[in-house]
């Protein structure tokens, strides 16, 4: 048994909130570079260049890459040999409160969905915990902007709809989103499970580094095919037209019921952020 204090968690979460919002993950930045190099449409190439300039500017001025510094989605892989000293969930919320305050990040959370009063400190965090083997605590903060989140969709397809039904739903989601989610986008796709599970799969899929394929070759091929279909839509960076509509797409799956084929598409933008620390 190893002890980790709530204070260590607070400090780590605060650091991760700031880092995630100011430094784009290397795989996402590399994908932007590669897409710009292979983009044939002049306006699209120019637009991708400006997105690269923005990353440089954010780094130089210590500014958030995007003003929508998001809902703080915190993913925890908690080793079952770990004992947390103090209140675990409260520590995560407190880390978010500190990170968003000290990092001059935007407070975008309202306490109630209909009465809409801002909590002024970006809490609460959205927390997902998985208990795993070992004595480590792996914390990932993935701030999620809502320009893209609002374009996400979920469908309870029929088993007869099959893989074609899934493909059509994913491509249709991107077509309907058009310029709204700040393309080039990143997609997390969930297939299977239940109504709630499939959305969680889609969200979790956004954590996978771009360019890393699904370990199951069947789904790796499906990821490649979907990416190609989406980039044939012509939406392009910012929706102004071009080849680069989607930087990457990850599929996660789960066993499901004989009567169902749930599918969920979580849309993210070119500022797909995540930062991880291991305690």
């Amino acid at each position: 048994m190893r002890t980790i204090s709530a204070d260590e968690i607070i400090r780590a979460v605060a650091r991760l909130c700031v880092r995630a919002n100011t430094v784009l993950p290397a795989d996402v930045a590399a994908s932007l570079d590669a897409c710009r190099a292979s983009e044939p449409w002049p306006l699209a190439r120019e637009t991708l260049g400006l997105l690269q300039d923005n990353l440089v500017r954010a780094g130089e001025r210590d500014l958030p890459i995007c003003q929508d510094t998001g809902m703080a989605c915190v993913f925890v892989e908690l080793g079952q040999e770990v004992h947390i000293e103090g209140d675990f969930e409260r520590a995560i919320h407190e880390g978010v409160r500190r990170g968003y305050g000290e990092g001059y990040l935007r407070k975008s959370m309202v306490a109630d969905p209909l009465r809409r009063v801002n909590t002024q400190d970006n809490t609460p965090a959205s927390i997902t915990v998985r208990i795993v083997a070992g004595d480590q605590c792996v914390l990932t903060v993935a701030p999620k902007g809502f320009g893209s989140e609002n374009m996400s969709r979920l469908a309870m397809l029929k088993p007869a709809d099959g893989v074609e039904g899934v493909k059509n739903f994913v491509v249709e989601t991107v077509r309907l989103a058009g310029p709204n989610p700040c393309p080039p986008i990143v997609l997390g796709v969930g297939i299977g499970g239940s109504f709630d599970k499939v959305a969680a799969l889609a969200k979790h899929a956004l954590l996978r580094p771009l360019g890393e394929a699904n370990p199951d070759s069947y789904y790796a091929a499906l990821e490649g095919e979907l990416l190609e279909k989406i980039n044939a839509l012509g939406i392009g960076p910012q929706g102004f037209g071009g080849k680069t509509t989607c930087l990457g797409l990850a599929i996660e799956t789960a066993p499901t019921h004989v009567a169902g084929l749930p599918v969920a598409v979580n849309v993210s933008c070119h500022v797909t952020r995540r930062a991880t620390e291991v305690l």
């Binding site: 923005n54 995007c66 310029p179 839509l233 910012q238 102004f240």
Partner: protein
């Protein structure tokens, strides 16, 4: 075509713009997004004066991050404009000449743009640090309780924007992707 515009933006100056043109905008613009638009409507319903002159005004749909000490503004890219579609036609009919945001608009907004000789310009979505560099001065005008959604008066210099909806019915979000796809054949 690239065009320089200075506020107040007169409808006459907007006639020359076509979807796909780039604009460098300088002068005074006002920020307002979801909650500020809602309050603006309530105020107009009560017959009260708006917090800034709507005639020939420029409204930027943005909620910036807080500014660090010594900085004018934090990160300040556009938010999704479609959420303001419910309010925009009324403001355009009252004289607003320029909307700045990102993302698609509905038919009612497109019609109001043409009817009033206005334009809808796109700022670079997700490029808040770059957009912030154009802001030289910031003052809160009203509704400070809304935090990032408070109405701010910004003085901007050479803010890089792209014409999406022009006064003649042009729409870059339709024409741009279509032109790219046509180039493949």
């Amino acid at each position: 075509m690239q065009c320089k515009l200075t506020t107040p933006v007169l409808k006459e100056d907007l006639k020359q713009l076509r979807e796909g043109d780039t604009v460098l905008l300088s002068g005074v613009i006002y920020t307002a997004r979801d909650a500020a638009h809602k309050r603006l409507m309530e105020l107009l319903d009560r017959g009260e004066k708006p917090p800034f002159l709507l005639e020939n005004s420029v409204i930027y749909y943005v909620g910036p991050t807080p500014e660090r000490p010594g900085e004018v503004i934090g990160s300040a890219g556009p938010t999704t404009s479609g959420r303001m579609d419910a309010y925009a036609p009324r403001l355009l009919d009252l004289g607003q000449s320029v909307m700045i945001g990102k993302g698609a608009r509905n038919q009612a907004v497109k019609d109001a743009v043409v009817r009033n000789g206005a334009v809808y310009l796109a700022a670079l979505g997700g490029a808040g640090a770059l957009m912030a560099a154009c802001v030289k001065k910031l003052e809160i005008v009203c509704w400070e309780d809304l935090g990032c959604e408070a109405v701010r008066r910004l003085e901007v210099e050479n803010m890089p924007l792209t014409v999406v909806l022009d006064a003649h019915g042009g729409d870059l979000y339709e024409r741009g992707p279509a032109a790219y796809l046509a180039s493949l054949n």
